[in-house]
């Protein structure tokens, strides 16, 4: 298969799911006739019809909750949010119902639903449209959260999410839909809960995910020019976290940079930093380095927004300050 982008990979994944399983249906705002805010579902309404590709009213709590109900009733819904920021209207459904039913029912009830949502800043949509709440949902037992940064991971994780008996949220960074990469021709899946070493190295571990992976690779390139060999781990799944991959790498490199685009306070990297010091404290040459977005609402102005989001240079400066490299 030639290189394709993340949008195309997701579109393929939806197409194949609709084709292979009559219980799969897709719902969301403007996903049908309009083709989706980011065109992920383009063309699907024409091919599969309105019973299976369902445009919804602007009623997040209702259609997300109905998706959960449909999943309990034996269907396999994929519910698209136009943007993860709008999921706030349906957090009650996702958390108090979707993520809790199995436990509250003592294991009687399954909720095999897939939520998908564009997220992330960087395109000047200001405070209400740019935040990333995947870390909040990754704090909820009963949820699974995946965040692909390549087309192959997007397709492989979508397939795994559809096979999963529990609610899975896939977040898609708005700046990455055009990101290209190779996708294997033969059938494959990417298991939920498995991180990926996107670049092996020996002197520093960089842990990242989503669009911050682009920055992480840039950091690794720039450090390579200084003869520092960085190992870059793409988490890919935020819950459950693949800590063994992270800990093994940190024990090898003795240094770690945790890099995310999400707000630093309360970000997923705070949790990972804590687990590293619990499990690999004696292996560290210095403090865990954590770089995230500035703790402010997203500004509209381009320059301000860019200085809010962490850059490779800022991350390198933090690494140098901590480890003298």
């Amino acid at each position: 298969m030639p290189e394709i982008n993340i949008r195309d990979a997701l579109q393929m994944g939806h197409h194949e799911a609709l084709e292979n399983d009559p219980d799969v249906l897709i719902m969301g705002e403007d996903i049908g006739a309009y083709g989706g805010a980011y065109s992920v579902t383009a063309g699907l309404l024409d091919e599969f019809g309105p019973e299976r590709v369902r445009d919804t009213p602007i009623s997040e709590a209702a259609f997300v909750g109905a998706g959960i109900g449909a999943a309990v009733g034996g269907l396999k819904p994929i519910v698209e949010y136009m943007n993860l920021n709008f999921a706030l209207l349906a957090f009650d459904q996702m958390i108090n119902i979707g993520a809790s039913l199995r436990y509250m029912s003592g294991g009687q009830v399954s909720v095999p639903i897939v939520y998908r949502a564009p997220t992330g800043g960087g395109i000047q949509l200001a405070a209400t449209h740019s935040r990333s709440y995947e870390n909040w949902l990754a704090a909820i037992p009963g949820m699974k959260v995946v965040a692909p940064s390549t087309p192959a991971d997007a397709l492989g994780l979508l397939r795994s999410s559809l096979l999963d008996p529990d609610p899975v949220l896939m977040v898609e960074h708005v700046l990455m839909y055009q990101q290209k990469g190779f996708v294997p021709d033969e059938h494959f899946i990417v298991p939920i809960g498995l991180a990926d070493i996107k670049r092996p190295g020996s002197d520093l571990t960089i842990v990242s995910y989503h669009h911050a992976m682009v920055t992480a690779m840039e950091v690794a390139d720039k450090l390579a020019a200084r003869d520092v060999s960085a190992e870059v781990i793409d988490l890919r799944t935020l819950r459950p976290l693949d800590m063994p991959t992270v800990i093994t790498s940190v024990k090898k490199t003795n240094r770690v940079l945790l890099l995310e685009e999400n707000l630093k306070t309360g970000g997923i990297m705070g949790e990972i930093a804590a687990q590293i010091q619990e499990n690999a404290f004696d292996f560290l040459d210095g403090p865990v380095v954590r770089v995230g977005a500035e703790d402010v609402p997203h500004p509209y102005n381009r320059g301000l927004e860019q200085s809010m989001i962490p850059s490779a240079d800022k991350a390198i400066a933090a690494v140098s300050a901590a480890y003298g490299i």
Binding site: D30, Y34, P57, S59, A126, P299, L304
Partner: protein
């Protein structure tokens, strides 16, 4: 003598409505160009076609009244008296913008004029308006709150919750629904149980309902005036549906392939600005020349606003950290 004075002030008022609607149209169309040229980014939602609603309704308000709207907000901001320079500079993300470049097109605010946004989460602004109405009544200011909303917001829970709360608390709140027949790419009939009939949307809550031709600024003004007077007098919330059409796409990123060119052309025949202009001409209240002068003056105002925005400085980096807390 007195009759003549009334006539003149009436005429001035009508020309002012014309002037405000034309200002908004010109502001919107030039903003669209500035977006295409990359001066404005993010999402840009134009109000072209709907001018009669903001202008007609806001013209009946007093200074002490509150105005709240959604993200298609330039028209409401300008009608409430925001300086076009500050609005345009905000669209450009400049330090001189109404929110210092931090909010952008979807989040215009001018607290000094009781204009409380500019909100980009569909229906998220409705409870805020109810709270402002509560504050006005609690403090006995005599003020009311006027909240504009899109047809899409009727499908959110916040719409129904706010209607109910406003009715239960008898708040001085007027809901003005701008039914432009589409919520993004979805025709109202495809998303609403009553097929996009919003005329009685307040009825389940015992809220008085009115319907008005949203292309006719004078009709909007009359209906809005009646609703506002009624709510100001302590009779509780009111609801108005204004029937209208957005001449442009949902945002500048919208290819508009969900509705026909013919539909747009039919609505453009009812252009609210020409409608008022023609009526004033027919009644000999103005001349072609006078209208032309108004338009040319407003063209200059918008040109000046763009120049101001272009020449204004970017916010300094420390602005990233200001305005989060007092």
């Amino acid at each position: 003598m007195q009759a003549e004075a009334i006539d003149i002030s009436f005429k001035t008022e009508l020309l002012s409505l014309y002037q405000q609607m034309y200002l908004i149209r010109e502001f919107e169309e030039r903003s669209g160009e500035m977006y295409t040229r990359g001066h404005i980014r993010g999402f840009l939602h134009l109000y072209s076609g709907q001018e009669a609603i903001a202008v007609g309704a806001i013209s009946t308000l007093e200074d002490r009244d509150y105005v709240v709207t959604h993200y298609r907000d330039h028209g409401h901001a300008l009608a409430r008296g925001m300086d076009p320079k500050h609005a345009m500079a905000e669209l450009f993300g400049k330090a001189t913008g109404s929110s210092k470049g931090k909010g952008g097109s979807m989040h215009l605010f001018q607290a000094s004029r009781n204009f409380y946004g500019g909100h980009a989460i569909v229906a998220g602004h409705l409870p805020l308006a109810a709270g402002l109405a509560l504050a006005a009544r609690y403090k006995n200011t005599g003020g009311v709150a006027l909240v504009f909303l899109g047809d899409g917001s009727v499908n959110e829970g916040e719409f129904h919750e706010t209607m109910n709360l406003a009715a239960v608390w008898n708040l001085p709140l007027v809901f003005l629904l701008e039914n432009n027949l589409y919520g993004m790419g979805t025709a109202v009939g495809r998303a609403h149980a009553r097929g996009g009939d919003f005329d009685m949307a307040g009825a389940p809550y015992g809220i008085a309902c009115a319907v008005v031709d949203g292309m006719d600024v004078l009709a909007v003004r009359e209906v809005a005036r009646a609703a506002i007077e009624k709510t100001r007098a302590g009779n509780g919330p009111a609801y108005i549906e204004a029937k209208t059409f957005r001449f442009r796409g949902h945002s500048l990123a919208d290819p508009v392939n969900y509705r026909s060119h013919e539909e747009e052309m039919e609505w453009r025949k009812k252009d609210p600005i020409s409608l008022l202009g023609d009526r004033l001409l027919q009644q000999d209240l103005t001349t072609e020349l006078e209208l032309l002068e108004i338009r040319e003056t407003q063209d200059d105002v918008v040109r000046e606003a763009i120049r101001f925005a272009e020449e204004s400085p970017e916010p300094t980096e420390d602005e990233l950290f200001t305005d989060i807390y007092a």
